[in-house]
């Protein structure tokens, strides 16, 4: 619910844009080339279908120079209030020091990618590195206002990954929107793709060779299960990667502002009540929750009219 509040606040201020850049690297073999292309196209389609303010760029097997050139464009276009999402699909390597994303021609290191992202003015950034060894890029890529998702927890998980397949799926799958606010946050997409990846290995009875992690504090090494204790996931929870519905549009209608204010109050009250659940008698919790949820449902009904 805190996410909803943040989205509303953001929608009411200056209209901001989200810029998406998806890059596929060298496949090496026809099977991988086809797979990477398919996943990138899947992401591209979902983002474009979501429409609205999306600026969607997909680069299939570019050279390092082409990547640099694209980032230079972005550095000029993007404003500080915008958000920026970089998604890397392909193969990666890690030699114990440097992570490299395999491109056509010379590869690009994590350090250079981080530098290129630093020049994009967007204050809120997300980078999803879906290659093998991608855990080796976290240290270079992390920043206090940047979310880093990697398909592997370290640079030493060297088997090709399936995480990208499920990340792409998360961006078009309503069930990834677990809080049903009609937007899929970075945290929701991460959890969805992580769960599906785990299921994949379990179902196939194969030893899991990739363990995705998320880092959004700018100082961690990546967590499998972001939560209050480890402090990871807070920024990711409020970072909408894809908006599925029209909640933002409704939020811009001044007539509905009082209702929206009440809705926000109720959502906060529900959050507070849930926080206190453990210390309350079950029946009392249920009574209060029912009351709040019923009122919220009525307010939402009024907003939707």
């Amino acid at each position: 619910m805190k996410l909803a509040a943040l989205l509303l606040a953001s929608a009411l201020s200056t209209p901001a844009s989200t810029y998406y850049l998806t890059i596929t690297g060298l496949g090496g073999e026809p099977d991988y080339t086809q797979r990477f292309k398919m996943w990138a196209e899947d992401i591209d389609t979902s983002l474009k279908r979501a429409g609205g303010d999306a600026n969607v760029i997909t680069m299939q097997v570019p050279t390092r120079e082409q990547v640099r050139s694209r980032f230079a464009d972005l550095a000029r276009q993007v404003k500080a209030t915008d958000t920026f999402v970089l998604m890397l699909i392909g193969h990666g390597t890690y030699d114990g020091v440097d992570y490299k994303f395999n491109l056509q021609g010379p590869d690009i290191t994590a350090a250079e990618l981080a530098g290129l992202m630093d020049h994009v003015p967007a204050q809120r950034q997300l980078v999803v590195n879906m290659t093998e060894c991608s855990g080796g890029s976290i240290e270079q890529l992390r920043r206090p206002t940047r979310i880093v998702v990697s398909a592997t927890r370290s640079g030493t998980e060297r088997n090709s990954t399936v995480f990208a397949r499920y990340w792409a799926e998360a961006l078009r799958e309503p069930s990834a929107d677990t809080d049903k606010n009609e937007a899929i946050s970075a945290l929701e997409a991460f959890r969805y793709a992580q769960q599906k990846t785990t299921d994949f290995f379990e179902t196939q009875k194969r030893l899991a060779t990739e363990h995705s992690v998320i880092e959004d504090t700018g100082k961690g090494t990546g967590e499998r299960t972001p939560n209050l204790e480890n402090g990871e996931g807070k920024l990711a929870a409020s970072f909408a990667v894809v908006r599925l519905g029209a909640n933002a549009a409704a939020a811009r209608d001044p007539v509905k502002r009082p209702l929206l204010d009440r809705k926000e109050q109720l959502e906060q009250a529900i959050d507070k009540l849930k926080f206190e659940k453990a210390a309350m008698p079950e029946n009392e919790y249920k009574r209060q929750l029912t009351q709040l949820l019923l009122e919220l449902a009525k307010v939402q009904e009024a907003i939707d009219k």
Partner: protein, 701 residues
């Protein structure tokens, strides 16, 4: 048994280093394994080319339940001296422990090298009795006694033949701990666990330090669910240095029982792992109830106590339950009223039809009970295989390449020797072939003579009659004539598959390439013949799926649907393909058939939350709220990320079933997870305006 050759080999080895070898043997006899091992190590280092020393050292390892180390030493001895009888015997003993068909050949070869090697002769008697070939076992045992009038195993084999035939008094009673241990083994492999336990107890009365017997006592107590004593016995073995794989793994398994939960009904006891109990319980419990009711009717008997089923998500845990038993035992095993089986989660989707396995094992409960565990292996397995397809034609195993090869190469066994195919297979595939053959024999008898004849045979076996006599009595035919007629029938039934199999293999290779290259017209042209030449082939890269894929690529949804329906009907089990079938059926406006297709997945791989959700939705619109509740509960049991949707779906199903209080609770749970979830908000408003809850609707499914 292993120590019987002690003196014989000792004499040979004594010539090399009498004093020290004697010391090693003395320590071994005193069960000082470490001390004996150290002396052997020094002896072999001093005399590395002495095969006798290596054989004795190997036997020490074998006695200490380290067959791999023993095998290495026997192999080294054979390198030094080709056809060394002691080394061959050692290998034969190891093969015998694994129920390998080559054990008898190795023992015979050892005897050729040393005709007085009594232990090899004893092993031949032992192996023949494992095949339930009493005449041969008795003949070999008498030969052993001729070599050594005090042969404990020789006497034990002869005594066990009498005891297995329920003759309490026998002149061959070995009055020795090792002899009673041998008897215990034979009762266990004949699935007479309680009697086996009694013989192990008898062995321990004479020699409390016979830990191999104590371990087997523990293992078999565990099989019958007497876990407390089982654990104590196994722990005693472990603490006294007897730590073979069965002891170690059984203890480990029993330690893991804390992760299991038990559900009981008046007729069933179901043990499930905590992590999947909520999901699996409704499906397995209802099949158990159905199977008991069906079999009580078919077998005309009532079970006197509940049947217990243990379901293991980790195949290694299940494997512990089958250690030391002959046969495939790959999916399930029955110990009297107790069944252990793999969980559907323990295997890749589509490789395991858990319900078919459950019905198979439940059938054993009836055939074993009806015969007081006197039924021969081939008949109880045959009945169990027969029952799989009796439940539903697409259940049960399909005709496999192993079976086709066996039919083609005339490798089916005579009915009187069929047990050998289970107990001492000459190749890994022979067990599968034996299951097939036993099942087909029961099908054949059922079709030609009728169910009552099968029941009459079962009652004959209860009276300890042998297969040949039962065949003569009930089928009024000589066993050899029965084999002739049966094999002719199988050959006629499988003529097309067998005759075209080699061409089929070539054709399938070509078809797989064409599918990869997306040559859909060629696939459509070639696949139908391949499908019809071997219709039972529904495994990876089958013609049905290839054709369906080709038709879909060409936009012919109707033809694709027809192909997928064929696949389902013939026993195709790939959940993804069945899901695709359900989708095609739904698109074709056949929601009822779509639901049936998805419901089939429940019996194969009920771990797929998406399939449960689709089925729940279909049943909800088909006015089957009870079924929808079960499916949506299954979704929740999978702990989905999308908790809100899962609770909301279940709330709708409860609402449809007029269980408004439960519907309200589920709706609140949905909104607790996602307060802004509009459909749940609407349902909450609707429920808050509902009148008092009405009575739940009757069960529809």
């Amino acid at each position: 048994m292993r120590q019987l050759a002690f003196g014989l080999v000792l004499l040979t080895a004594n010539a090399v280093c009498a004093q020290t070898l004697r010391d090693a043997e003395a320590r071994w006899k005193a069960r000082d394994y470490q001390g004996a091992n150290e002396i052997f190590r020094q002896l072999v280092a001093a005399d590395p080319n002495n095969p006798d020393l290596k054989v004795r050292w190997g036997r020490l390892y074998l006695d200490h339940a380290q067959p791999n180390d023993a095998q290495d030493l026997f192999a080294e001895a054979l390198e030094i001296k080709k056809d060394h009888p002691g080394a061959l015997l050692g290998l034969a003993l190891i093969a015998s422990e694994g129920f390998e068909g080559r054990a008898a050949d190795l023992a015979r070869k050892a005897l050729e090298g040393d005709p007085k090697l009594v232990e090899a002769q004893e092993l031949l008697a032992y192996l023949a009795l494992e095949d339930n070939d009493n005449a041969k076992a008795a003949e070999e045992a008498h030969k052993a006694l001729a070599l050594d009038a005090n042969s404990v195993t020789g006497k034990a084999v002869l005594a066990t033949i009498d005891w297995l035939a329920d003759k309490k008094e026998t002149k061959w009673d070995p009055h020795a701990a090792k002899g009673y241990e041998v008897a215990g083994h034979f009762f266990v492999i004949n699935r007479r666990y309680e009697e086996g336990i009694e013989y192990y107890r008898k062995a321990l009365e004479l020699d409390p330090q016979l830990y191999s017997a104590r371990s087997q006592l523990g293992v078999n107590l565990m099989r019958l669910g007497q876990n407390e004593e089982a654990y104590k016995q196994l722990e005693t073995c472990f603490n006294n240095g007897f730590q073979d794989a069965a002891t170690r793994n059984s203890l480990k398994l029993m330690d893991s029982y804390k992760n299991f939960v038990t559900f009981t009904t008046p007729r069933t006891i179901l043990k499930l792992h905590k992590k999947e109990a909520a999901l699996l319980r409704p499906y397995i419990e209802s099949e158990m109830e159905k199977a008991i009711a069906t079999y009580e009717d078919k077998y005309r008997m009532k079970l006197t106590r509940p049947v217990q089923v243990e379901v293991y998500p980790d195949h290694e845990d299940f494997a512990v339950r089958t250690m030391g038993l002959p046969g495939l035992g790959a999916l399930g095993v029955t110990f009297g009223y107790s069944i252990a089986m793999d969980s559907p989660s323990g295997r890749p989707p589509g490789q395991f039809h858990w319900a078919s396995t459950l019905w198979h094992e439940m059938s054993h409960v009836f055939t074993l009970t009806a015969t007081n565990h006197h039924v021969p292996r081939w008949f109880t397995e045959g009945m169990a295989v027969h029952e799989e397809t009796a439940v539903s034609p697409e259940w049960g195993d399909r005709l496999t390449p192993d079976v086709i090869a066996a039919i083609k190469n005339k490798k089916l066994l005579p009915v009187t020797e069929l047990d050998r195919g289970f107990v001492h297979p000459v190749s890994p595939g022979q067990v599968v072939v034996s299951y097939f053959q036993a099942g087909k024999i029961c099908d054949y008898i059922n079709n030609k003579w009728g169910w009552n004849t099968l029941l009459a045979m079962l009652h004959d076996f209860a009276g300890a009659m042998e297969t040949a006599d039962v065949v003569r009595k009930e089928l009024k035919i000589e066993p050899a004539e029965f084999d002739k007629q049966f094999i002719a029938s199988v050959e006629a039934e499988t003529k097309t598959v067998v005759s075209s199999y080699d061409d089929w293999k070539k054709g399938m290779r070509s078809l797989v390439d064409k599918v990869a290259e997306k040559q859909w017209d060629a696939v459509i042209a070639e696949a139908p013949k391949l499908r019809d030449d071997y219709p039972d082939y529904v495994e990876d890269h089958n013609a049905y799926e290839a054709l369906a894929q080709a038709y879909l690529a060409k936009g012919n949804k109707q033809a694709a649907l027809a192909e997928l329906e064929r696949y389902e009907k013939v026993g195709g089990r790939n959940p993804e393909t069945l899901k695709n079938l359900a989708k095609q059926l739904e698109d074709a406006g056949r929601p009822k058939d779509a639901a049936a297709a998805l419901d089939r997945i429940n019996y194969i791989y009920p771990m797929d939350a998406a399939a449960h959700r689709s089925l729940g939705a279909l049943w909800l619109v088909q006015d089957n709220p009870k079924g929808a509740i079960r499916e949506f509960q299954a979704v929740l049991a999978r702990n989905p990320l999308d908790q809100a949707q899962a609770h909301y779906d279940l709330a709708r199903a409860y609402q449809a079933n007029r269980q408004l209080s439960q519907a309200n609770d589920e709706c609140l749970a949905a909104l607790e997870a996602a307060p802004g979830f509009r459909p749940a908000q609407k349902l909450l408003l609707e429920l808050s305006n509902s009148p008092e809850p009405a009575a739940p609707s009757p069960v529809k499914k």
